[in-house]
Every structure is written in structure tokens, then in C-alpha cells.
């Protein structure tokens, strides 16, 4: 059974999340070592990202003990974070892990980065030889998350202004974007974000900034070129996508630069993105035929709409996660009944064998043919007798009370408990 103890962005502020973070490999290794040494548990995985730190273990280890070990590892008393922490056990823990992996519990709904982080955390646990008993549940979480991303739109659509700018450019130019001329005016934080998004989309980007050195620094790692501020009017007229994000208090791209150039484009759309406050691109530019002009308010409207569309996918994702959780429960149930069936059959076979040995001693004159006939008869009796119970036991793999029935069976037939426990993967 799975247990998770964690702190995330919903219940803890950034300072507390930083205090309890297990993001340094030596810290994580130390925690794994202590967990293994102290309790001899069957499995643990430590997940630590900007937005959460969570410790997944089998429930053989109590949550308060995990909290103590966690606190000692990061050097703060558990009382400092337990009020903001949450504990989930059993099905709730599995459901939580599935939601985390699928991005439902992320700060940015549906983000895919978290799946990579969960995989990395699991890999580290394997390297520390600490994940043996959690193999199936984590593999099921990876599969569920992959299905969620592939079969729904939970991870589609931009949720940031920078990415929304790239999405808009792609919606207009599609596969031709790498062949289109893109101009970024400015070299501040917003301009840098948009520059990187457009560069990653394959566009050849020109950056213009009043301070040329900052433009050159921005393009230093490739994917673009810097141009002098004096060429701005010419560059605007010859670009297909113009992004303006400077700190200028006045308009830097007036209508008079755009209107004469618009007819020369012969109908090719012209995208202007004004990501500055106050505006860098004159509002009149949006009224020039063939021009699409978006400012921050427009982009925010797109982002809000995208967010709503992602939220509308949550139910569909939960259905998929539910299916995968059910499949996992069935698989784990099947793992649990296997040893019981084997043990019951072995016990019955042992009794039959012992009784036959006693019979041969009592009746030494039996011919080999008679012995074979007796052996076959007792074997058939045993098989017929166990047939119905075996069928029922297999069905217990998928019923909620299955573990209780298995315990009753072990008790009833005095099956060796240690021999009937499922072996870890």
C-alpha cells in the first residue's frame, strides 16, 4: 500500500517550500540511506521540484516517522512544516501520484515538465536501490500521465504571454514560420522570453534595442542577430512578425511606418505584438488592412481562454487516471492472490503425497498398475475439489474486499503467511 507525505504550492509558501526542499543529490542520498537503515522498508521515492517536495513510501513506514527523518535531513524540526503537509494513504496516495504525474496538481494546469521530474525522481530512487516495492505503481503513473497528455488537450494551448505570442505567430504562418522574418524590439525580460519562444519555433529573429550591447547579448547564444536602432523603420517594413517590448514611454512604431508598406505585402498577414506598457505600437496600426495587432490585454484574453479550455479537460483526464488506477489495483490484486493459490495447492498436494506414502506402507502388495490408478484417482479428486475455490480466489483480485478474504483463507487453511506474501518487483 502506498503512502505519500508532502508539501506543495497550494499549502506552503515559497519560503517554506525552499526550507524543506530535497533538491541536492547528497541530501536525497542521505535520506534514502536513513530510510533504508532505520526501517528496512520496501520502497521510497523522493520528489522535489520548485512547487513540491513529496516522499512516497509503502505504508509500512508511518508518516510521522517519515516526517522526522525528512526534518532531520533538511535540518529543521518537523513541527515547522507538518501543519502545511498532507498525507495520503492507499488509493488516495495512488490517485495523488497519478494527478501529480499528469499535471493536474501542478501550478500550471496540465504542464508536462512534472512528468519528466517524477521520472527523474524515480530513477534517482532506483540508483539508491530504494524503489523496489514501488515499481508497478510508478510505471502505472507514467502510463496514466502519457495517456492523459495524448488523449486529451490538457497540455495544449499557451498559458503565458510569451508562449501565447509564439502560438499566435504559428497560427498565422504555420510551417512557414521558420521562413518568415521576425523582429523583436527591446531586450528586456519580456522581449527575451518572446525571443526564445520564437527562436525555439525555428524563426530567424532580429533583435533591435536602443542599447545595442543588450541586443547582442540576447542573441549571443544563437538563433538570431542584432541590428542597429537606426534601421528600425526599415526592419519593421520588411518583417512578417513584429514584437515590441521596450520601456519607452512613447510609441516606437508609428502608423506612418506601416501604412505604406502594407499594400506591398500582397495579402500576406502582418502580425504586430505590443507587449509593452505604455504601448510601443500605435493603436492605429491595427486598423491598417492586412495587419493583426495584439497588445497585452489581447494576449491575456487568449491565455484566459486557453486556461478555461484546459480546465474543461480535467474531467476527461480524471476518467483516464481512474481507469489506470483500476487497472493497477487489479494487477496488484492478481499479484496478491498468486502466492495464496500456490500455497494452497502445495499444501493439498503435500497432504495427498503423505497419505499415499502411508497407504503404500499399509498395502505393500499393490501392483504398479494399481498404485498408478490410486494416484490418478486422488489427483483427480484434488483437482476437482480445488477447482471452484481457485476460480473464486482469482476473482478476489478485482474485488475491494479481496485482501480480507485472502487473510481469512490463510487463517482457515493455516497457510504460511510469509510464503503467501507477494514478492516485490
Amino acid at each position: 500500500m502506498l503512502m505519500v507525505l508532502g508539501v506543495n504550492h497550494v499549502r506552503a509558501d515559497i519560503a517554506l517550500r525552499g526550507d524543506v526542499a530535497l533538491d541536492h543529490p547528497p541530501l536525497v542520498a542521505a535520506l534514502y540511506a536513513r530510510l533504508k537503515r532505520e526501517v528496512g522498508f520496501e520502497g521510497a521515492v523522493v520528489l522535489s521540484t520548485c512547487n513540491r517536495t513529496e516522499i512516497y513510501t509503502t505504508d509500512a513506514l508511518p508518516a510521522d516517522r517519515v516526517a522526522v527523518l525528512w526534518g532531520e535531513t533538511v535540518g529543521i524540526p518537523p513541527s515547522h512544516f507538518t501543519s502545511a503537509a498532507y498525507v495520503h494513504v492507499g488509493e488516495a496516495a495512488v490517485a495523488h501520484l497519478f494527478e501529480v504525474a499528469a499535471g493536474l496538481d501542478a501550478m500550471v494546469l496540465g504542464e508536462t515538465e512534472i512528468l519528466g521530474q517524477v521520472k527523474a525522481a524515480y530513477r534517482v530512487a532506483q540508483e539508491n536501490e530504494a524503489a523496489r516495492g514501488l515499481h508497478r505503481v510508478f510505471q502505472a503513473a507514467f502510463k496514466a500521465a502519457k495517456r492523459a497528455h495524448a488523449e486529451t488537450a490538457i497540455s495544449e494551448r499557451a498559458l503565458s504571454w510569451g508562449y501565447a505570442a509564439r502560438e499566435l505567430a504559428t497560427k498565422i504562418f504555420g510551417d512557414e514560420l521558420p521562413e518568415r522574418r521576425v523582429l523583436v524590439v527591446g531586450a528586456g525580460a519580456m522581449a527575451a522570453k518572446v525571443f526564445r519562444h520564437l527562436r525555439d519555433a525555428g524563426a530567424e529573429v532580429t533583435v533591435v534595442n536602443r542599447t545595442a550591447a543588450r541586443a547582442e547579448a540576447l542573441v549571443a547564444d544563437g538563433g538570431g542577430r542584432a541590428a542597429p536602432w537606426a534601421d528600425l523603420a526599415t526592419l519593421v517594413a520588411s518583417s512578417d512578425v513584429v514584437v515590441a517590448a521596450t520601456r519607452s514611454p512613447t510609441v516606437v512604431i508609428p502608423v506612418k511606418w506601416v501604412r505604406p508598406a502594407a499594400p506591398l505585402r500582397r495579402g500576406v498577414p502582418w502580425l504586430f505584438l505590443d507587449l509593452a506598457v505604455p504601448r510601443n505600437i500605435a493603436p492605429g496600426v491595427g486598423r491598417v488592412p492586412g495587419v493583426l495587432r495584439y497588445d497585452l490585454d489581447d494576449l491575456e484574453a487568449v491565455v484566459q481562454k486557453n486556461r478555461a479550455r484546459r480546465a474543461a479537460e480535467v474531467e476527461a483526464v480524471r476518467l483516464i487516471l481512474g481507469e489506470e488506477a483500476e487497472r493497477l489495483a487489479h494487477d496488484l490484486g492478481a499479484m496478491a492472490v498468486g502466492p495464496v493459490i500456490r500455497s494452497l495447492r502445495e499444501k493439498a498436494e503435500r497432504i495427498r503425497s503423505d497419505e499415499l506414502e502411508a497407504l503404500w506402507r499399509r498395502l505393500p502388495d499393490l501392483s504398479p498398475a494399481e498404485r498408478a490408478a490410486v494416484e490418478q484417482t486422488t489427483h483427480r479428486m484434488l483437482t476437482k475439489l480445488l477447482n471452484d475455490p481457485m476460480t473464486s480466489i482469482r476473482q478476489w483480485a478485482s474485488v475491494p474486499d479481496g485482501p480480507v478474504y485472502l487473510d481469512a483463507l490463510r487463517e482457515l487453511f493455516r497457510l504460511d503467511a510469509s510464503a503467501t506474501q507477494p514478492q516485490p518487483d
Binding site: T170, K171, I172, G174, R266, G267, P269, Y294, V302, K305
Partner: protein
């Protein structure tokens, strides 16, 4: 034919509803598959028998439906192109319905339909299908552009391909359609050549020539770099003119070959 019409109408409704509920597009696609089977059977019987009831518009209309339905599995799988059916199939349905009722007096004489004549009709159907899909892609462009201009993302913002792709495919389909239309007109003239007739001055034939010239101007302008909004409007308007000519002006029923077919010549 009633069954084909009913399934086509149901498919059209399904595809339009699919704009808002994409999962319903599956049933509309099944309907289009059924239409393809029905059209294949009808065309097979018509080809085999040269039925006296055969009328050229009905053959062209059914051939166009057959071609569009046959191509559906290919173009609907291209990312973002599934909604094309919602734009094209309702228009196709209207045109098919009109093709079944116009020029009821036009009959092909038994034994007259040769492979050459079938090629003539097939080229016209291919032209109509291609020009229809080109106009549909142009319509998608205009709708997508309208949503982008309004800055209020709705269904087409999310579901349609990028403007650049729509513009490119609208052009390609229109060029293919125009080339097929040219072939159709040439084969029509060749068919009547033995009778010494190459041209008839009917409203339909003159209208068809005017539409062909309009498409020629479109192709030339596109080749010279013209794109986007205006180009899309022309593709839509030219197709509307073509549809009006074919259905209302008798572009098919009063063309050169059709006149010959009717026994006006030879």
C-alpha cells in the same frame, strides 16, 4: 438516390455539429463512407448500362460526391483539417441535390456513352470537387482570420489549421480544379469536333468560359505573389459563380458536349 441524399444531409449536419463536438465527426465520417458506397453502386450501374435515365448533371454531381468521399480519409487526417468537411460537405450536398433535379429532359442516348465521354464528365467532376474544396479552404481562411481579428478565440481559433496552410492549400486545390476544368472544356470540344462544332453560344457555355477566365486571372495573380484575404474571397466568389452557372445557367446541361449528347448535332 433518396438514401444517398438522406445520408448526405445527415453527414452534413454531423460535420457542422462536429465543429463544436469533435467526437461526433466520427459518425458523420461513417455516413460519408456509406455515401461513397451508394455512389459507387449507382455509378457502376450507370457505367454498365448507359441507362436511358442517365443525365449528365446527375453523373457529374454523383462523381463529385464520390471523389470527395474517397479523398476524405486522406485529407481529414491531416492535422487541423478535419473541419474542412464541415465547410465542404453541406455545399456538396446542396450541389448534389441540385444536380439530381436540373435539366430533367437531358438524356444520354443508349449506347452513346464512350470512355472518352466519361473522361469528359470525370474531369468536370474533378474540377468541381477540387474547386469546391479550394473554396472551402478559402472560407476556412476567412473565418479563422475573422476570429484572429476579433481577438476573441472561439471554436475556429482552436480547430483550424494556420492561415498560411489554409492559404497554400486553397491555392493548390484551386489550381488543380482549374487544370481539370480546362481539360474538361478541351475534351468537350474534342467530342463535338467530328460534327464540326466547337462552340455553342448558350448562357451556360459562355458563363463557364467566364468562370474559367476568372480562375485564370486568379492563378496568374497568385503566381505573382498575391495571397491571403483578397485571394480567399476571389476563390469563394469564383466557386459561387461556377455553382450558379452549373446549376442555374446550365453550364453542364447546355455545354458543347451536352448539346451533342442530346443529339443536337450529328
Amino acid at each position: 438516390m433518396a438514401a444517398t441524399g438522406a445520408v448526405l444531409v445527415a453527414s452534413s449536419v454531423g460535420f457542422v455539429w462536429g465543429f463544436y463536438q469533435p467526437r461526433h465527426e466520427r459518425w458523420a465520417a461513417v455516413g460519408l463512407g456509406v455515401v461513397w458506397v451508394l455512389a459507387t453502386v449507382w455509378l457502376g450501374r450507370t457505367l454498365g448500362l448507359s441507362q436511358p435515365s442517365l443525365t449528365a448533371p446527375a453523373v457529374v454531381g454523383t462523381l463529385a460526391v464520390w471523389m470527395a468521399a474517397a479523398g476524405f480519409p486522406w485529407w481529414s487526417r491531416r492535422p487541423g483539417w478535419a473541419p474542412l468537411a464541415g465547410f465542404a460537405v453541406p455545399v456538396l450536398t446542396l450541389w448534389w441535390a441540385a444536380s439530381q433535379v436540373v435539366a430533367p429532359g437531358l438524356r444520354a442516348a443508349a449506347g452513346r456513352a464512350s470512355l472518352w465521354e466519361w473522361a469528359h464528365l470525370a474531369l468536370l467532376a474533378a474540377a468541381m470537387t477540387s474547386l469546391l474544396l479550394g473554396a472551402a479552404a478559402a472560407g476556412m481562411y476567412l473565418e479563422h482570420e475573422r476570429e484572429l481579428r476579433q481577438k476573441a478565440p472561439r471554436v475556429f481559433y482552436y480547430r483550424l489549421p494556420p492561415l498560411g496552410d489554409l492559404d497554400r492549400w486553397s491555392y493548390r486545390l484551386t489550381v488543380w480544379g482549374w487544370v481539370s476544368l480546362s481539360g474538361c472544356m478541351v475534351t468537350g470540344g474534342l467530342l463535338t469536333a467530328p460534327a464540326g462544332v466547337y462552340w455553342v453560344e448558350t448562357t451556360g457555355a459562355v458563363g463557364m468560359l467566364a468562370v474559367w477566365l476568372a480562375y485564370l486571372i486568379y492563378v496568374v495573380l497568385r503566381a505573382r505573389g498575391w495571397r491571403g484575404h483578397g485571394s480567399s474571397w476571389v476563390a469563394v466568389a469564383a466557386f459561387v459563380a461556377l455553382a450558379v452557372d452549373v446549376v442555374g445557367g446550365g453550364g453542364v446541361s447546355h455545354g458543347v458536349a451536352a448539346a451533342w449528347w442530346q443529339g443536337w448535332y450529328g
